[in-house]
C-alpha cells in the first residue's frame, strides 16, 4: 500500500504543478501560528480509567447525559470503540506486543489538524480552524452532507443519524468555548489523574516529547505521532508500542487538503480554464458553421 500512496502523492503533486499553480493553495486559510496550543498524549502513562471520558461528558452539556457510574465500567474496553454521537472521546485497551501481560490504553478524540480535511471538504465552511489550534464546527451552517466524515483521515466526525430534524456532526471542540477562550485547558486534560496529557504551546510540547524519548529510549518508539502526520496535528502522541497497534493510522506527512485543492484550484485558476473551454468550443462552432455555409 505504501508504494501506492507514495506514487499517489507524486501524481497529485504532478497534477498540481502541471498548470502553474499550487503555491497559493492555502491562501485563504488561517496560517499556522507558532503560538498555537497543543496536547501531548503519553500513552505509556494511561491506565484506562475513563476519567477523561467522564470530564468530557460533564463539560459538553449538549451531549447525551451519562451518569458518573457509566464511566466506572471498564468492561466496555473489551471492544474497539470509536467516538459517536454521544461521546467526543473514548479510551480503548490494546494488546502490548512488548509486554503481553500489560495492556496499553489509548485515548482518542479529534486530532485538530493543522490542515484539516473537514475544513477543506465542507461545502459551506461549517468547519473553521482557530488561531489557537481548535477546529470548530458550526451546526447552523451545516447542510448534513457528511462529506467531512468521508474526508477526515482519522475518521473522527460522528453523526446524529437518529436525530430526524436537526442532526449535527459531533466531534471534540478542544473545549474551545467552555475553557480554551477563557484561559483554561481542555476538561479531559485537567481531569486525568495520571497526567497522561500535557497541554501547552505546540512547539514546546514537541521539545518535551523529544526530551522524554531521548531520556527513556527503551520506553518509547522514536516517533512523535502528529508532529508531521497529514501536515501536523494539534494532538500528538508518544507511545511504547508502534502507533498502528493502537489504531493510529499510517498516513504520511502530506496534508489531506493537498490532494484535492491543487486539482480544484488548477481547474478554476481565475476561471481561465472554464473560460478557455467556453471560448474554444464557441470558436469551433463558429468555424464549422461558416465552413458549412460556404459550401
Amino acid at each position: 500500500m505504501s508504494t501506492n500512496r507514495r506514487s499517489f502523492i507524486k501524481q497529485a503533486a504532478g497534477i498540481g504543478s502541471l498548470a502553474l499553480f499550487g503555491k497559493k493553495a492555502h491562501a485563504s486559510r488561517l496560517q499556522v501560528s507558532p503560538d498555537q496550543f497543543g496536547v501531548l498524549v503519553d500513552i505509556t502513562r494511561c491506565v484506562g480509567c475513563r476519567s477523561c471520558e467522564q470530564a468530557c461528558n460533564e463539560i459538553n452539556e449538549d451531549l447525551p447525559r451519562k451518569s458518573p457510574e457509566t464511566f466506572k465500567d471498564t468492561s466496555v474496553q473489551e471492544k474497539r470503540r470509536r467516538m459517536d454521537y454521544s461521546a467526543y472521546t473514548v479510551v480503548n485497551r490494546y494488546e502490548n506486543r512488548n509486554n503481553p501481560g500489560m495492556p496499553v490504553y489509548a485515548k482518542f478524540q479529534c486530532m485538530h489538524c493543522l490542515y484539516p480535511a473537514c475544513e477543506s471538504a465542507c461545502i459551506v465552511g461549517a468547519f473553521e480552524r482557530q488561531a489557537n489550534g481548535a477546529v470548530i464546527y458550526d451546526a447552523w451552517k451545516c447542510i448534513g452532507c457528511r462529506y467531512c466524515m468521508a474526508a477526515c483521515p482519522f475518521q473522527v466526525p460522528a453523526y446524529e443519524f437518529s436525530n430526524v430534524l436537526t442532526p449535527q456532526v459531533r466531534k471534540c471542540t478542544f473545549c474551545f468555548e467552555t475553557r480554551l477562550t477563557q484561559g483554561g485547558m481542555p476538561a479531559c486534560v485537567q481531569s486525568c489523574p495520571m497526567e497522561v496529557m500535557t497541554f501547552g504551546k505546540r512547539n514546546s510540547l514537541i521539545k518535551i516529547a523529544r526530551e522524554r524519548i531521548k531520556k527513556y529510549p527503551a520506553r518509547y518508539v522514536n516517533h512523535i505521532y502528529g508532529e508531521n502526520e497529514v501536515g501536523g496535528t494539534t494532538w500528538m502522541y508518544i507511545s511504547s508500542v508502534p502507533f498502528q497497534d493502537i489504531d493510529l493510522p499510517h498516513l504520511g506527512y502530506h496534508p489531506a487538503p493537498g490532494y484535492t485543492e491543487p486539482i480544484q484550484h488548477a481547474i478554476f485558476k481565475w476561471f481561465l480554464p472554464p473560460a478557455a473551454v467556453f471560448a474554444g468550443l464557441g470558436g469551433i462552432w463558429w468555424y464549422l458553421k461558416n465552413k458549412k455555409s460556404d459550401e
Partner: protein
C-alpha cells in the same frame, strides 16, 4: 433552437398497463422517502459513522449526474460540431438531462441531514472555494437552471398561439402569449451562450465528482485511489452520455410501438467507442503507472467490482460498439448500451461505498431496503415525468404517417 425539427407530442394513451405498474412502483418507492423524512436517516438507512455516504449518494446523485450527461454531449455533437443530421436526439436528451438533474436535487434532499439548508452553498458568506463539493454544488445548481432555459423554447413552441386558459383566467391568454413569444425570441438569439455554458458547467462538475474522494486516499482501495479520479469521471461521462441517448431512444421507440431510429442511432453509436476508448486508455494508463495491476487477483470486494464494472461492463461494450454489425442491430446496440449503463452505475457505487474502506469499519455497508426502494421510486418518477412530458410537449420526433 429552431422550430423546424418535426417534433410533436406523442398521441398515445397515457395510462397504459405498463404505466399503471410503473406508477404503483413509483408511489410505493417514494413512500419510503416520506418514511425517511418522518423517522430520520437511522431508521431508513444502513449508514453509520464509518460509512457516511451510501446508495443515495453513489446512485441517486453520482450515477444520476453521469447518466444525465446525454444533455451536454448531444449539445456538443449537434451544435458545436455541427452534426445537424442528428438533430432528432437533442430534445429527448435535453429532457432526460433536465429530469435527471432535477431528481439529483430531489434525491439529495432525502440524503442531507439538514435538507432545509440545501440553499446554504448559494449564500456568499458561506462560499467555500477550497471545497470540491462546493464546486459540484454550484455547477449543478447553475446547470439545472441552464437546462430549464434550454428546455423553455420547447414549452414556448407548444403554447404559442394556443394559450387557452379556462374560465376567468382567459383574460390573460393574450398577455401570456406575448410573454411566450418574447421569451422564445430572446432565447432563440442567445441560446448558443447557454448551450456552451451547459457544456462547460458539465465538464466542471462531472470531473469534480471524481475529485471528491481524492481527499481521502488512505481510505480508498488502491485500485480506486487515484489522483486521476476527475479524468475518469469526465471521460466516462462523455461516453455514457451518448450511450444514454441511444438507450433511451430505443426504450421510447419500444414504449410507443415505433421502429427504433437506427438511421440516427447507428451513426451516433459509432462515436461511442472513441470516447469509451479514451476512458479505458486513461484508466489502464493509471493502472500501469501506479502498478495497481498487482491487486487484480485479490479476492476483495473492490477488486471483484472492478472486474465486473470495468472488465465486463466497460471493456466488453467497448468492443461491441466497435463492431458495425452490433451498431446496425437494434438488439445488439441495446445490449451494449445497457451493459455500459449498468457499468457506470456500478463504477460510481464502487467509488462511493465499496472501494471506500473506512479505518474502523465493524461491518460492511449494505444498503437498507428503504434505500433501494427510494432509489427505484425516484427512477420510476423520472420515467413517469418523461412520459408525461413527451405526451404533452413536442419532444420526440413526430410519428411517421402511414
Amino acid at each position: 433552437m429552431s422550430h423546424d425539427e418535426h417534433a410533436a407530442p406523442v398521441e398515445k394513451k397515457f395510462f397504459t398497463t405498463g404505466m399503471k405498474i410503473l406508477t404503483a412502483i413509483m408511489v410505493s418507492g417514494l413512500s419510503f422517502g416520506l418514511y425517511r423524512m418522518v423517522f430520520g436517516l437511522e431508521a431508513s438507512t444502513n449508514l453509520d459513522d464509518q460509512f457516511p455516504l451510501g446508495l443515495w449518494i453513489g446512485v441517486d446523485v453520482a450515477t444520476g449526474v453521469a447518466l444525465a450527461a446525454g444533455g451536454f454531449t448531444s449539445g456538443a455533437l449537434v451544435y458545436v460540431f455541427q452534426r445537424e443530421h442528428f438533430h432528432a436526439i437533442i430534445r429527448p436528451a435535453l429532457l432526460t438531462a433536465m429530469l435527471g438533474y432535477t431528481f439529483v436535487g430531489v434525491g439529495l434532499m432525502f440524503d442531507l441531514g439538514r435538507w432545509y439548508n440545501i440553499w446554504h452553498p448559494a449564500i456568499p458568506f458561506m462560499w467555500q472555494g477550497n471545497s470540491v463539493l462546493f464546486e459540484v454544488g454550484m455547477c449543478v445548481m447553475i446547470y439545472l437552471n441552464v437546462l430549464y432555459l434550454e428546455f423553455a423554447p420547447i414549452v414556448c413552441e407548444r403554447f404559442i398561439g394556443r394559450v387557452n386558459l379556462p374560465w376567468k383566467f382567459a383574460r390573460f391568454n393574450d398577455l401570456i402569449d406575448i410573454v411566450l413569444r418574447f421569451a422564445d425570441h430572446i432565447l432563440g438569439k442567445i441560446m448558443f451562450i447557454f448551450i456552451l455554458l451547459g457544456i462547460v458547467l458539465s465538464c466542471c462538475h462531472q470531473s469534480s465528482l471524481g475529485t471528491l474522494l481524492v481527499i481521502a486516499p488512505y481510505k480508498m482501495h488502491a485500485l480506486y485511489s487515484s489522483a486521476w479520479g476527475p479524468l475518469f469521471f469526465l471521460t466516462s461521462a462523455f461516453a455514457v452520455g451518448l450511450t444514454m441517448v441511444v438507450f433511451e431512444s430505443m426504450i421510447a421507440s419500444r414504449a410507443f410501438g415505433r421502429e427504433p431510429e437506427m438511421h440516427i442511432l447507428t451513426p451516433v453509436s459509432k462515436i461511442i467507442p472513441y470516447l469509451l476508448g479514451i476512458y479505458i486508455a486513461v484508466k489502464l494508463g493509471d493502472m500501469i503507472s501506479r502498478e495497481t495491476y498487482k491487486f487484480l487477483l485479490e479476492g476483495s470486494a473492490p477488486v471483484i467490482m472492478f472486474w465486473i464494472e470495468f472488465g465486463l461492463l466497460t471493456v466488453v461494450p467497448f468492443f461491441m460498439f466497435m463492431s458495425s454489425d452490433v451498431r446496425r442491430s437494434p438488439r445488439g446496440l441495446f445490449v451494449a448500451a445497457s451493459m455500459y449503463i449498468v457499468g457506470i452505475l456500478l463504477n460510481r457505487s464502487t467509488v462511493f461505498f465499496i472501494a471506500y474502506e473506512p479505518l474502523y469499519a465493524a461491518k460492511a455497508y449494505i444498503p437498507a431496503f428503504a434505500e433501494f426502494a427510494l432509489t427505484i421510486g425516484l427512477i420510476c418518477a423520472i420515467m413517469f415525468v418523461y412520459r408525461l412530458a413527451v405526451t404533452f410537449l413536442p419532444v420526440l420526433p413526430a410519428a411517421e404517417e402511414h
